[in-house]
Symmetry: C2
Subunit: 337 residues, 2 copies
């Protein structure tokens, strides 16, 4: 007979954890059907029976009320990164027999999307395009609602998965510097988007550490048409850059198209690089040099973290960084002299 | 005092219609808040009060249980046509304060998507990628659940909206024939997809009426990678075509990329044309000649038809055909001799 809980109060999962010699989180997972070694689960269940443990109603309801629905919030499906990423997320959810409910939060307005998903009683939400200062994300985290940020990271104390932006940025700068580029322009994205902010910081840092000039930076909001106008202005200005880095492939394609429209040859007169490696980047007609995001791994880890969080809302927030890789194709070459 | 309903039974909407001298459908719209002239609505409401009409519980529940949610079923978000089309549909729904719940029915398996949407109690469903023989669509229609087919049409007796495929096909054939092309290949899509079947029939018909040879036809399932392989085989075969028509832009891009990989110059050695006019088609780096689908109008009409159907499930099925337009760009030119 294991040592019983103190007199005068019903046993809790903390008591079980103390007796079992495990963390309370492990007890929670074992009792709620989460991932835990079979032997551990058996021992925890035996102890909970011996202690006369009854999960409280709220906890029990939380378990039984699962819908198997997972909300996914995106912001721009016409950026091909998102459909590709969603396909991976849907596959990961499908493998767990969960269903994806998709909401489009155009322009960063994610509150309405979240409300709709909560009305549909999703078990958790994956944000693929959160921006810094999102109140919707902060509210959910404050209510301990299961949330994971996939691809974007904001300062909200929740689980998140992203690519290694500093490493990716350093790789693209090293590549361009090695080709002799000294005058580099950057088509930036949304100021509050971590993908944009971290990639830009990475580029600046690497240029500084190589003692190369700071880049020209133009905001585009990751909008294709704005990026075409920005690239056109850069290329028709008094001192056109010899290389343009788009902080996603979408705006890098805009630079390629602005150059094509102006008759600026790529890569002999202008080098262009992007971030993401969407499928079109590998098309022979485009051949974009780009920093590949770990889409498949990001989707898998995001879904795994979300489900661990659904099983155990008490876990400390996790942050995972997955490797990014420079893919050199035909849009980058030696700097024009 | 208007003539009362017969003795011994409560008045129905048919009685109101008879007294009002309108159709029962108009009465239904007036009582359910649908679109009807203000004067007509007032008169119908007055008559229904005089007759002592009480809507039955089922009808009342149908009205009060509206969720404002509309399901949209897509099949391949990585074909850029669908994200663009969804953006238009979302805008039309948003203008009516309705919300879009998106479901991906990959590979034509739409039953699971439909079940999930029904669980979420959507008021109606827009199918953007229905294929012939869809049991899910047939079931919904049999149950008089509001459904509209947008872009695709199947023989299921429900509302549908599509582009004018015969006219689009004729325009692209006339264009290529005028450039001297006699050996045309077609990258077809899904056999059960009306977009593929009708465009192909239109191309065959026009070639026949111009007394030109029938096209080589290769199935691709609208899959990009299959289309690249098919185009590569055509271009490396004993008698390569002088023109390839892709039955959507996605597979036309595949033909362009297959040609680029093989060093086959476009348009001097090979002309390529597509259908849809997705945004990338207008990129200067691609410049695809294509038949533009009336995306914006199709979205608007689909949402309008669905809402009319939600207001009045008794309407006869409507089928609308919207004009398509050939956009000539840089991938088509005179046939190589």
């Amino acid at each position: 007979m294991v040592k019983a809980a103190g007199p005068g109060r019903p046993p809790t999962s903390v008591d079980i954890a103390r007796v079992a010699g495990t963390s309370q989180a492990t007890v929670s997972r074992a009792l709620n059907g989460g991932r835990v070694a079979a032997a551990t689960r058996e021992r925890i269940l035996a102890i909970s029976r011996e202690l006369g443990y009854t999960p409280n109603a709220a906890a029990r309801s939380m378990v039984t009320s699962r819908t198997g629905l997972v909300g996914v919030v995106v912001s721009d499906l016409t950026n091909p990164f998102y459909p590709e990423f969603l396909e991976e997320i849907a596959a990961c959810l499908g493998a767990r027999r969960q269903h994806m409910l998709l909401q489009n939060a155009a322009g960063g307005g994610d509150r309405e999307a979240v409300e709709l998903l909560l009305q549909q009683r999703v078990d958790g939400i994956v944000f693929t395009a959160a921006v810094e200062g999102s109140e919707a994300v902060a509210d959910l985290v404050a209510r301990r609602f299961p949330v994971v940020l996939a691809n974007r990271v904001v300062d909200a104390g929740c689980d998140s998965v992203e690519g290694d932006h500093p490493a990716g940025a350093a790789a693209v700068v090293d590549h361009l510097a090695g080709l002799g580029h000294r005058h580099i322009a950057v088509l930036a994205g949304l100021p509050g988007a971590s993908t944009s902010a971290r990639r830009l910081a990475g580029i600046r840092d690497r240029l500084t550490s190589l003692a190369l000039p700071a880049p020209d930076v133009v905001e585009t909001g990751f909008d294709y048409d704005r990026a075409v106008r920005a690239a056109t202005e850069l290329l028709t200005g008094p001192q056109p850059p010899t290389a343009i880095v788009g902080l996603n492939d979408q705006v890098a394609f805009a630079a390629l198209n602005a150059a094509a429209a102006l008759g600026v040859a790529v890569p002999s007169r202008l080098s262009v690089a992007g971030f993401d490696d969407v499928r079109q980047a590998s098309w022979p007609t485009l051949g974009l040099t780009t920093v590949r995001q770990p889409q498949v791994a990001m989707a898998a880890r995001s879904v795994a973290l979300l489900n661990e969080r659904i099983d155990d809302p008490d876990l400390a927030p996790r942050h995972e960084v997955l490797p990014a890789e420079l893919i050199v194709r035909s849009t980058t070459g030696p700097a024009a002299s």
